[in-house]
């Protein structure tokens, strides 16, 4: 077996891995990044297209959890991980959330004042910006609806760059993913990147890890096995894959037992007037009146996506799709309360996730849907699609009320794009897998540095927090 040596081995090149590799390389360490997915340029496929799903998503986006309701979850699998495919919405978490985390798992050095400089650095280094001069007609509609209900909304900044001379030209093309920001920086500082290379196991010897064994792929087929040797290993494979790797190596204490997520329900709404203009990209306004528990917003609403979420029940789908300019996809995302177990299925080598959608989640989603419906009708919606498979169209907020009081388990398409907390950090040994800076308990040189570390939901889009915490932790490692 071919063998490669390095100082710091980084497994996974998503936001956590990219930040780790970048700072370690810039500090002069010999860094090797292994990434299971391929290295595609940022513009290799249009956003949210089939081609993008094939190139950059794990299993083209078809993964589900098991529980009363199966939840479809999406993960990136390419250089840059989730940052290459996501909506790039950026939030700082609420100070209250950070303080709750700090006490919940007793994290050292986690005062908000100690964390804000990391967020500031992320905002600077990864180009976090608001849309110059307003964020478009779908956002205006959301603001109008919320305004008539007396609710607050907020424009969410994005990891995005808008050319100063013609900001509008950057609306679809300015994504500042890891392949645009931290990965080139890491490579300029000397980091080596191996795409199409999947780590299959960590090499463990007593209280140390020696490195890992990986498989490369070429043209879609397995190519060769290689052995990687490293002084330190960072596992940054994301909230589902990180615990799988750790558990396979026998690290099981609080690993893969507490996965959490933001369950999300989408509906479509048709209005009298056109407002859906794809040239604006992802709508960046969110209703923040009900945060931290609930977020309401609008998704990118192209014809294929409308067809996906509209359902057949509204009748004459063709006509409805012809009306796409006055139709949009709207979402409710909740802070989930269920905790999931991630295990490897024997023989097939795929993850099996058992995660309940709890009654509290259903109640919260129901409340969110009701609020969303009220907002949409206040903004002039004529009809909403039902959140329930096969349910009839909804023509008034009253129609929605009965349904939202008791959302049915197992009968709604629920999805998530935010997963975390599968190897939480902190000093509370009873509930955490790593110390306060991501170092795995019981091993000298193995670290986690991705969304798995969150003690609980950040209650906002998570990538900014993944990056800020990764920055903090790798800083501690480098000393």
């Amino acid at each position: 077996m071919k063998r490669i040596d390095c100082d710091v081995l980084v497994i996974g090149s998503g936001p956590g891995g990219a930040m780790t590799a970048c700072l370690a390389a810039e500090a002069g360490r010999d860094v090797l990044v292994l990434e299971e997915g391929a290295h595609h340029p940022i513009d290799s496929a249009p956003s949210f297209s089939l081609a993008e799903m094939d190139q950059k998503y794990r299993n083209a986006g078809l993964n589900v959890t098991f529980g009363g309701t199966s939840i479809t979850y999406l993960e990136g699998r390419c250089v840059g991980g989730g940052s290459e495919i996501n909506a790039a919405l950026y939030h700082r978490p609420l100070e209250k959330t950070l303080r709750e985390w700090q006490t919940q798992t007793r994290i050292r050095g986690f005062e908000p004042e100690q964390l804000w400089p990391h967020f500031e650095a992320v905002e600077r280094d990864c180009n976090v910006n608001l849309v110059p001069g307003g964020n478009g007609p779908a956002c205006d509609l959301l603001k109008r609806g919320a305004g008539s209900m007396g609710w607050s909304t907020r424009e969410i900044a994005r990891f995005w760059s808008y050319p100063a001379e013609a900001p509008q030209t950057g609306l679809l093309t300015g994504r500042q993913s890891m392949t645009v920001t931290l990965i080139p920086r890491a490579m300029r500082a000397g980091a080596r990147l191996m795409p199409n290379t999947r780590v299959v196991k960590l090499l463990r010897e007593g209280k140390r890890v020696l490195g890992a064994v990986a498989e490369t792929t070429e043209g879609g087929a397995r190519h060769e096995r290689i052995e990687l040797r490293a002084k330190s290993v960072f596992v940054c494979a994301g909230a589902v894959q990180t615990p799988r790797l750790l558990r396979r190596a026998g690290f099981t204490h609080n690993v893969g037992d507490t996965l959490q997520l933001h369950p999300m329900i989408r509906i479509t709404a048709r209005f009298k007037e056109p407002f859906n203009d794809l040239a604006w990209g992802v709508p960046t306004e969110q209703v923040d009146q009900f945060k931290p528990g609930l977020t309401l917003g609008c998704s990118y609403s192209s014809i294929p996506h409308l067809a996906l979420w509209m359902g057949a029940e509204l009748g004459d789908k063709k006509q409805r799709l012809r009306d796409w300019r006055r139709t949009g996809i709207f979402y409710v995302a909740a802070v989930g309360t269920g905790k999931g177990k991630i295990r490897d299925l024997p023989l097939v080598g795929e993850p099996f996730i058992r995660l309940p959608l709890t009654q509290a989640d259903l109640d919260r989603l129901g409340e969110g849907l009701l609020r969303l419906g009220q907002l949409l009708f206040a903004a002039g919606a004529e009809e909403l699609s039902s959140p329930v498979e096969g349910g009839p169209g909804i023509r008034s907020a009253n129609d929605l009320e009965a349904l939202c009081k008791a959302l049915p388990q197992g009968k709604m398409p629920v999805s998530t794009i935010h997963l975390f907390s599968s190897a939480p950090m902190g000093e509370d040994e009873a509930t955490t897998a790593t110390d306060s800076f991501g170092k795995l308990r019981g091993v000298e040189n193995l670290y986690v540095n991705d969304a798995s570390l969150f003690p609980a939901s950040p209650a906002v889009n998570p990538q900014g927090t993944v990056l800020a915490i990764a920055r903090r932790n790798v800083g501690e490692f480098l000393g």
């Binding site: 083209a60 078809l62 014809i303 067809a307 004459d316 799709l321 498979e389």
Partner: protein, 139 residues
């Protein structure tokens, strides 16, 4: 992307069934029983099959088995395999499964009900052919 693999003999049995389901789903989407003037059906079927085989292995295996079983199941109800049925009968056969309570067969149609139309509309969008199906003025 890892190319999904299946023994050639099994694949040869699967492809026509997936194609027949894809057509029935598109017909359902458009609310009619003929598709003579509808473009990109072979592409829709081939992407759909690729998606099916690209699912996590345990799901893919289950879906392949259910798809092949479903093809035979219409022999009892309609006197012929699903692939041999007219579009109208295929739509009805899928509707029967859709009406079932929860269970693996229900999940089976959910996959096809969601993915086939999504792939179809995506393919039209990608090839700038939405107007062919939705009428002029839809770009």
């Amino acid at each position: 992307m890892l190319s999904p693999t299946l023994p050639p003999a099994l694949r040869a049995r699967l492809s026509p069934v997936v194609r027949a389901i894809a057509e029935a789903e598109v017909a359902e989407e458009l609310g009619r029983d003929h598709l003579d003037d509808v473009p990109l059906l072979p592409e829709t079927a081939s992407v759909l099959e690729h998606r099916l085989l690209g699912m996590p292995k345990h799901f893919a295996a289950g879906m392949v088995a259910l798809t092949l079983l479903f093809d035979r199941s219409t022999r009892a109800t309609d006197g012929a395999s699903f692939t041999q049925l007219s579009l109208a009968k295929r739509r009805k056969a899928l509707a029967r499964i859709r009406a079932l309570p929860l269970g693996p067969l229900k999940n089976f149609t959910t996959f096809y009900d969601k993915m086939a139309p999504f792939i179809f509309w995506s393919a039209l969008e990608e090839h700038h052919l939405l107007h062919v199906v939705l009428g002029e003025g839809v770009e």
